[in-house]
Amino acid sequence: MMKEKRIVEKVKQSKTQPKSNRSIVVLKLVGLLSVFLAIIISGFVIGTDHIEANMSAKNLSPSLMHPFGTDWLGRDMFMRTLKGLNVSFQVGLLAAAASAVIAFLLAVFASLNKWFDHLVTMMIDLFLSVPHLVTLMLISFVLGGGLKGVVIGIALTHWPTLTRVIRAEIMQLKTAEYVHISRKLGKKRSWIVKRHYLPHVLPQLFVGFILLFPHAILHESAITFLGFGLSPEQPAIGIILAESMKYLTAGKWWLAFFPGLSLIFLVALFDAVGNNLRKFFNPN
């Protein structure tokens, strides 16, 4: 009797435990996502009139009115930072997604035959043998800078590691029985790619995309900071930080401190969202 009861309890526990875990994950996810979305949407809502120059409020240190202070033109740094985070987010999203797509396409290409595989491996080695930042500078130099240069540059430099993972995965899949059967049944390659490969590697692509995103954002701000990326009119974090360099010796620490901190916050937030999403889709 006792034993049975205990087993029943255990079963109950095992049934309820993941559920409660899951609801915690969902709660966390909702909380994180709402903060995240609030930042992103506010970036869209803020118009140019919010970051207009206001000479009567120049160089103010942080206060309740201006939580991040104001700059030498009296622009509110909080609004500029939000706008900048929005730009960073868009660039990061676009570039990381493009990288993931490139990774998938190249991995499929490598699976076609031995020579293509060699070619792709060679390309991975090639792109990993030059420092990321140097390649990025070269590409944005060639494309003449700007938003286009940054996005293409980041997309073209961040695919190698993910391609390696996806390539290994597809190589393993190729030998799977159901893929063999599909091939014997005369299914076309494109069918196998669409029905077998893609669904299988989709979670990995998603995780890879989430891991790439912070890299993309950080590299975007770095390359913009160096002067290769977005143009000075755009309120990107890299631009804000580069401008703040001129006012450091005058003691305007808030110009650099808060925007940088916000960028770290955005990256950390995205990381947390990604981790919880992963837990949500794959509880084990």
Partner: protein, 330 residues
């Protein structure tokens, strides 16, 4: 046996390196030749308005700008492999001379910070790994996760604000005091100027080595011989010194060598923040002012730099560590 194995590994790597180097050269030349930059304009600079059309035509003729791209490439490539990288448009000097001159401050900067981040990162990682799950571990782990998502140049700016502007301990930037002859600059001056950039770079580079050492230490501590050592009554520092240290040091050094690419990229950013006159700054200037010969030269140089790091990592992995048999991959 060991030596021949070492030589074989190095030879194979060299062959691979040269093939990749050639590809890097071809690819970057192709990329640059598609850029919208007008070569005559970047050659003349501000003189563009003064020089007449016929003279421009003559310059184009002299440099073979009307020839097909392929012919241009082979012409350039044949001088390039002979060690003539061309003349930098910005510095009006041989590219190789510029690189040599600029690399030496960068070299000191990178070696200081690389060593510092290696030692501090290893120690922190080892402490975290030995105390897995405890408070210390969690603090160190959080620290390195935050570092991993922090832009290098922002840390540089923070250090500038705190140590130079507020505390006045270090100079704001540059590699030597302003208005001093090169011969008069003392070692102490140089040291004072290198501390902040090196510190910034080492803080940024620490995250990777901390997390890796921590992981390796936890793995090591879970093995049989550690359980036996613990059964004998070893704990704490003795346990670390006799077993943990020996098993985690080599992988850590190896991983640290493999981060040369990140190190170079970090140095570019840090040099920009501190106006430190190194190779990274020259690269940024070359890119912003369309100095193609210097840009290509530094791209090739950085490839070689990353290769040396990877080669060291490989040698440490496959040859010095005898437990890894030839042909086995890690």
């Amino acid at each position: 046996m060991q030596i021949s194995q070492l030589i074989k590994t190095i030879m194979l790597r060299m062959i691979k390196f040269f093939s990749i180097l050639i590809m890097v050269i071809v690819l970057s030349f192709t990329l640059v030749s598609f850029s919208p930059v007008d070569p005559i304009q970047s050659y003349l600079g501000a003189e563009m308005m003064v020089v007449s059309e016929t003279q421009k035509e003559q310059i184009a003729e002299y440099y073979g700008l009307h020839e097909p791209k392929l012919k241009q490439f082979f012409k350039w490539f044949s001088t390039f492999v002979q060690g003539d990288f061309g003349v930098s448009l910005l510095y009006r000097q041989d590219v190789l001379t510029v690189i040599k001159e600029r690399f030496s401050p960068s070299f000191w900067l990178m070696s200081f910070s690389w060593t510092l981040s290696g030692v501090v990162g290893y120690v922190l990682g080892a402490i975290a790994g030995m105390n897995e799950g405890k408070m210390v571990d969690r603090v160190i782990k959080t620290y390195s996760f935050i570092l991993a998502s922090t832009p290098a140049f922002w840390i540089g700016i923070l250090f500038l604000i705190i140590f130079s502007v507020w505390l006045g301990l270090f100079p704001i930037g540059l590699g030597a005091p302003v208005g001093m002859l090169k011969a008069d600059v003392t070692w102490f001056d140089r040291l004072k100027h290198i501390v902040l950039p090196a510190l910034t770079l080492s803080v940024v580079g620490g995250a990777n080595i901390i997390l890796h050492t921590r992981q390796k230490m936890i793995e090591t501590l879970n093995s049989e011989f550690i359980r036996f050592a613990r059964a004998k009554g070893e704990y704490g520092f003795t346990l670390f010194w006799r077993h943990g240290f020996r098993n985690t040091l080599l992988p850590a050094v190896s991983v640290h060598f493999a981060t040369f690419g990140e190190l170079f990229g970090g140095a570019v950013l840090v040099e920009q923040v501190f106006s430190y006159p190194g190779l990274g700054q020259a690269l940024v200037q070359a890119g912003l002012h369309n100095d193609v010969p210097l840009l290509l030269g530094i791209v090739v140089f950085s490839t070689a730099f990353v290769f040396i790091g990877n080669l060291m990592a490989d040698i440490l992995y496959t040859v010095i560590d005898r437990r890894i048999k030839p042909g086995e991959t890690v």
